[in-house]
């Protein structure tokens, strides 16, 4: 089996893969980063979103062998250097942007991609950008609040649902 190397959360990673090895399998099973969640495994739910070279990608819908040399960021890479929660993670905690937490890794990574291209998104822009990330517990109100807070905006300004 060929060895595929990537830079994951800033560290060199290498693992032997089959052709069919998905990026989600590479991350979770081969290099042990289980923060990335596989929800539907059919490209619908967005729980498995990670950043590949800065872009949001559904890791269940990309082959590891196709990503040789890629720079990948997972939810584990979103913490501060001292290991404390990063800004986006902290905002999800502070605003209770989760209930069961299964979708949260994908929500956090999609939020990171959104804020990289649009640092101060409106509520409408947040809802539009996160439409590929499905939460089945909370509804989206607190998730949107968390993204507002993570971008330094007033989360309290959101109308109550």
């Amino acid at each position: 089996m060929p060895k595929v190397m990537m830079k994951v959360n800033g560290a060199e990673a290498a693992a032997d893969v089959e052709g069919r090895t998905l990026l989600s399998t590479y991350l979770r099973d081969l290099i042990g980063l289980t923060g990335t969640h596989v929800g539907c495994d059919t490209s619908q739910c967005g729980a498995c979103v990670v950043l590949v070279d800065g872009q949001p990608v559904k890791s269940c819908t990309a082959f590891a062998a196709d990503l040789e040399g890629a720079e990948v960021t997972t939810v584990e890479g979103m913490t501060n250097p001292d290991g404390s929660l990063g800004v986006i993670q902290k905002a999800f905690q502070d605003y209770h942007g989760l209930q069961c937490g299964f979708c949260t890794p994908g929500m956090v990574m999609s939020t990171a991609a959104l804020l990289a291209e649009n640092p101060k998104p409106s509520e409408e822009e947040i809802r539009h950008y996160l439409e590929g990330n499905i939460c089945r517990c909370t509804g989206y109100q607190n998730i949107v609040r968390a993204v507002m807070a993570a971008s330094g905006q007033d989360a309290g300004a959101l109308a109550a649902e």
Partner: protein, 262 residues
């Protein structure tokens, strides 16, 4: 998913050689092919990735035309085509969700010819030329019915050449669960006339609405098609909408596209 041999050539010539093996299939962004393989609807012995070929990447202006490499992602087209051909960029930015747009490619979308995909409407709605590893195919000859194209076995798209219209727009009625078009209409106005292409509606896949093209060519105004309708016969009917509903949407979305373009 059944296992397969993965090959990633760095030139069109190497990809042609890799695909000469009859058991090999091309892979572009994989946003449709990978789920199909998981469902075992498709089980190639060899997959040839087309995403590592520099000459198949990017958007470039060539006089009055815009050339888009077949392996260019929707996200890149949404960004790089915006100043040249806003109708096309607007369409690309409405496909799927951000993660799908970061991987999915124009070549993959067109080659798959899903009856509800967005890109076929832009290709048929312009006078685009599909360039493959071996020939050039006019858009009018390319789409041959649901999931069917003029591509031969092993043939793959290398780029698409769009003559840039004077005005254009894509109006998409979103099917929110799949994020495909329940019905989508691309309208393009050229000096020679107007083209109207409809996706998501017909059981035969993308089609041109000739009556609307004639009406809009003489008067490029949404009211010009107000009295026109397409027959419900042959329109898709499913739990998301009846054939009559889709036939109605064809006119409504055509009018919205014209209003947005003018």
């Amino acid at each position: 998913m059944h296992n397969f041999e993965f090959v990633k050539p760095s030139s069109v010539a190497d990809a042609v050689a890799a695909l000469a093996n009859g058991e090999a299939q091309p892979l572009s962004g994989g946003q449709t092919l990978i789920p199909s393989m998981k469902a075992r609807l498709n089980a190639p012995e060899v997959l040839v990735s087309l995403t590592g070929i520099a000459e198949m990447q990017g958007v470039s202006r060539d006089g009055g035309a815009l050339e888009v490499g077949a392996a260019t992602t929707h996200a890149t087209v949404a960004l790089e085509a915006a100043s040249h051909f806003p109708g096309l960029a607007g369409l690309a930015g409405q496909i799927g969700d951000p993660a799908v747009r970061a991987r999915g490619t124009i070549g993959g979308s067109i080659a798959n010819n899903d009856p509800s995909a967005c890109y076929p409407a832009a290709v048929l709605g312009t006078v685009a030329t599909i360039v493959t590893d071996r020939r050039e195919i006019a858009a009018d000859d390319f789409f041959q019915g649901m999931f069917t194209t003029a591509l031969d076995e092993g043939e793959f798209i290398t780029k698409v050449r769009f003559p840039i219209p004077e005005a254009s727009s894509y109006a998409k009625f979103l099917q929110p669960a799949s994020r495909f078009a329940l019905t989508g209409v691309f309208v393009a106005k050229y000096a020679s006339g107007v083209r109207v292409a409809v996706t998501g509606a017909s059981e035969d896949g993308v089609f041109r609405w000739a009556e609307a093209e004639a009406a809009l060519s003489s008067n490029f105004d949404a009211e010009a098609v107000a009295g026109l309708s397409v027959p419900a016969d042959g329109m898709i009917s499913d739990l998301h909408g009846t054939s009559e509903y889709r036939a109605h949407l064809v006119r409504v979305m055509t009018q919205r596209a014209v209003r947005a373009a003018s």
